[in-house]
């Protein structure tokens, strides 16, 4: 019989304890420790992010200098065409860029790395509730990564159907070869990796919160990660189902998504069904990617303004409202498929309703820095960058949510600019903010502030130019996924703009090496960080640095909210740890 439901409050926290590993392999490779898994995910994500970024450089080279050989590496990569990127390779480039950036870079960094690192530490737990599943999550991601990497080298090349993988182009008749099959299998593994992680996160947040850590006292980072995990657990299976059906179509010759009009046998499949399934997952995926960044930014703005997060609970509730709304708005991705007019009206209304909760937490961010004592450290700069980029991205979402303007802009570069600003740039800047912020706790050393600030300016300014430029190009008529836009007369005037966007992309790409240098160098010889370098009160900063294997000797008891800054009742300093009991401020 189970001994679980005892009255011992430590039971939950002790249940998942595991012995401290001693050998190299058990410590760094097959570790159960959430901190090690977080680092594994971080390195994994950074590795893939650089590959994805390099692919984007190749893409922009095509658009900026059509027909020119790619400098330096061109002859090595494309020997058969004298260094010029051929059109079929171009299709693979943007497909893999999208896939890698979403599933292999942003998701592992924000959810895999910072989810794993922050959740147990910030809620006051010794580890994730199921450490074994946590390890499984990373190794499933590893298998997915290996398969995706392998798909570059199979005959006929990698997948070339766009990251949305719409049938019927995704069927083997129109995209033959192993590339896309491997792509599907790889994403199947990635999906299950995220799913396992998400289930683990949900259970951990519900079960392992330290005594006194109510949902009201939960840092907003955890709110973001928790909501993301819920979306992941509910909607990844939808994608998995769609991928299974597509995989059967490709390998066994069924025809779930193959229409009667075009296949040899009298099947009655429907390619639109795939689009429905994909976007039922796909729209929540946008929020899966951005919610952790929102949470992190909401916290960091408060930490570095030295004042409580403005309307913290309202922020949390708006994020929850968006999470719920995100499940029912996917139709605006499919307005051009000849949807029923009734549905378009409903989806337009629902989509635009999202702006109410978004507006609330957005203005709360402004409220947080209002009358603060703003310390412009690198994480703060990146958080302010998220406000700006997500501001533009979110506002331009209005154009795409309404059916009238959507029919002009759908599939154009306006869409590309919009979704990059919201789910790519904002999420990535959030990830940078998180990296600069938690680096001292992760590795025990500070990252260089100076390099970080240069990295920030060389990232933010060109990146705004790139994506605002893309939106301008989109309204001028440039559509997505074309190898050479200048085939069209009305797109010829855009060459100048594309060249400058290209240059901005190259600048951003090289600026990321600055980050890489800073990251690797600071890991070995950065300034030694004390246990609470930013002077904030959340639970992870109460642990010594480096963090002991089981995080907390005794499970801390929480008395305060995460943002108790500049409280007039606290004398001597402007912050208060969540575990400190101060008469008149804290309550049990």
């Amino acid at each position: 019989m189970s001994t679980h439901s005892s009255n011992n409050p430590q039971a939950n926290h002790d249940e998942h304890l595991h012995a401290e590993p001693t050998t190299f392999i058990s410590k760094y490779l097959i570790s159960y420790d959430h901190k090690v898994i977080a680092k594994q995910f971080l390195f994994y994500g950074i590795f893939w992010a650089f590959i994805g970024a390099f692919l984007s450089v190749l893409i922009r080279w095509c658009l900026a200098f059509p027909g020119e050989p790619f400098p330096v590496l061109g002859n090595l990569l494309f020997p058969s065409s004298n260094g010029i990127i051929p059109p079929d390779v171009y299709t693979m480039l943007f497909t893999m860029h999208g896939t890698i950036m979403i599933f292999f870079a942003i998701t592992p960094i924000l959810i895999g790395a910072f989810g794993n690192f922050c959740i147990p530490l910030m809620i006051g737990a010794r580890d994730m509730i199921f450490p074994w599943l946590n390890m499984l999550s990373f190794w499933l991601a590893m298998v997915g990564g290996v398969l995706m990497m392998a798909s570059f080298f199979v005959p006929l090349g990698a997948s070339a159907v766009g990251w949305t993988s719409y049938p019927t182009l995704a069927h083997s008749q129109w995209s033959p070869g192993m590339g896309h099959t491997l792509w599907l299998i790889s994403l199947f593994f990635m999906g299950n990796s995220s799913l396992v992680g998400a289930i683990n996160y949900i259970t951990t947040v519900i079960r392992l919160r330290a005594p006194g850590m109510t949902f009201k006292r939960l840092p907003l980072t955890i709110w973001g990660l928790f909501l993301t995990a819920i979306l992941n657990a509910l909607f990844l299976p939808v994608l998995t189902a769609a991928f299974i059906l597509l995989l059967l179509d490709r390998t066994l010759g069924t025809s779930f998504f193959l229409s009667a009009a075009i296949s040899d046998v009298g099947t009655q499949g429907d390619p639109i069904l795939y689009q429905h399934l994909f976007w039922i997952f796909g729209h929540p995926e946008v929020y899966i990617v951005i919610l952790p960044a929102w949470g992190i930014v909401s916290d960091l703005l408060s930490f570095f303004s030295r004042k409580p997060a403005f309307g913290a609970m309202k922020t949390a509730y708006s994020m929850t409202a968006i999470t719920i709304l995100s499940a029912v708005v996917y139709g605006h991705h499919m307005f051009t498929t000849g949807m029923s007019p009734l549905l378009t009206g409903a989806f337009t209304t629902l989509t635009l309703l999202i702006s109410i909760p978004s507006g609330i937490f957005f203005l709360n961010w402004l409220g947080t820095i209002w009358k603060g004592k703003i310390q412009l450290h690198t994480p703060m700069l990146f958080s302010l960058g998220v406000i700006i980029t997500f501001g533009i991205g979110g506002l331009t979402g209005l154009h795409l949510g309404a059916v009238s303007t959507n029919l002009i802009l759908h599939n154009s570069y306006f869409v590309v600019g919009h979704f990059h600003l919201t789910m790519a740039v904002a999420a990535l800047l959030g990830a940078f903010a998180a990296t600069y912020f938690w680096f001292p706790k992760m590795f025990g050393r500070m990252m260089s502030e100076k390099l970080g600030k240069i990295h920030f300016w060389f990232t933010l300014v060109p990146i705004l130019y790139i994506f605002i430029g893309q939106m301008v190009a989109g309204y001028a008529g440039m559509h997505r996924r074309i190898y050479n836009p200048y085939e069209y007369n009305y797109l010829k005037p855009l060459l100048g703009l594309n060249i400058y966007i290209g240059i901005a992309v190259f600048t951003v790409f090289f600026a990321q090496f600055l980050f890489l240098y800073n990251f690797i160098k600071s890991m070995r010889c950065g300034e030694i960080a004390d246990s609470n370098p930013w002077k904030v009160g959340t639970l992870e900063w109460t642990t010594p640095t480096p963090i002991p294997h089981h995080n907390f000797d005794t499970i801390p008891v929480v008395y305060n909210g995460p943002h108790e800054f500049s409280n007039p009742k606290v004398t001597g300093r402007d912050w208060l740890s969540q575990t400190e009991f101060v008469e008149g401020v804290s309550n049990t």
């Binding site: 766009g162 390619p271 309404a402 190898y483 100048g496």
Partner: protein
Amino acid sequence: MNTKRICRLFLLFAIVTCTISSGWAQTQEQLHQSNPDFEKDHIHAKGIWPSPKSFVDTYSGPDVISSDGAHFDWLFGYVTIGTFIYFMIMIIGVVYFTFAYREKRGAKALYTDGHKEHKVTLFFDVLFFLSLDLVLIYFSIVDTQKYFMAPPQGKEVIQVQVMPQQWLWNFRYAGNDEQFGTADDIVTVNEMWIPKGKTVSLQIKSKDVIHGFMVPEVRRQMDALPGTITRMWFEPIKTGDFEIACMHLCGTAHYKMKGFMKVVELEDFEAWSKEMSEWSEARYDPEDAATHWGWNWVM
């Protein structure tokens, strides 16, 4: 190497790269401009800061040629200007707060927990919703009823069947007998003739993968799906030659899948239609299955 040196080197590198590539960009543009095929009647973007007029001409999209396109342009302009105003408010807020309340100025942070200062945020949120979202919702519903709901019927409507395939556009007209599927159907490839001032109704179905039909000047697009007929209609009000773009990724040569839309005067169109229809009837070959695609006009 110390950090300082890395910073300096990187700055130097960035400046040099930007200078060289800007120069390169300029020469590239000049090369393209000197190319006679390139510059026919298009204004070219003059680099990063073009004059306001050339900027507007280049980036406001091609001129509208459909009767209702101006409305969508107006709506786009309204939302763009509206969002721009809110964006400016936000940017001014972020920049002003960041500089006014930074640590160096020594002010003490305000402890806002428990304060009731949410009225401002609520005000802006409601204002935003009323001024932009509500307008968009209203127009989406009205536009749907007005423009997207019921395909036009009647004798006056020019009916065209469109069947894209990898990587070209097939068009089919009913011909003189106004019946689809007969010997005098006009079949064209990559060239769609339509008259000015008449409503054109398209029925679109793809032969293989998903394509997307769009003429940017019309300000409307519709997907071409295998197995399902989609509809699109508009009324051209200007004559000229326009390009049909494929909006959906449809394979390697997606970027080359370009058709032409020729908007001509009504009498020219009728003459063309009559001549083509007779020509087709004279050369009708029942064995030629590839030409006899098409479907009965679906109401």
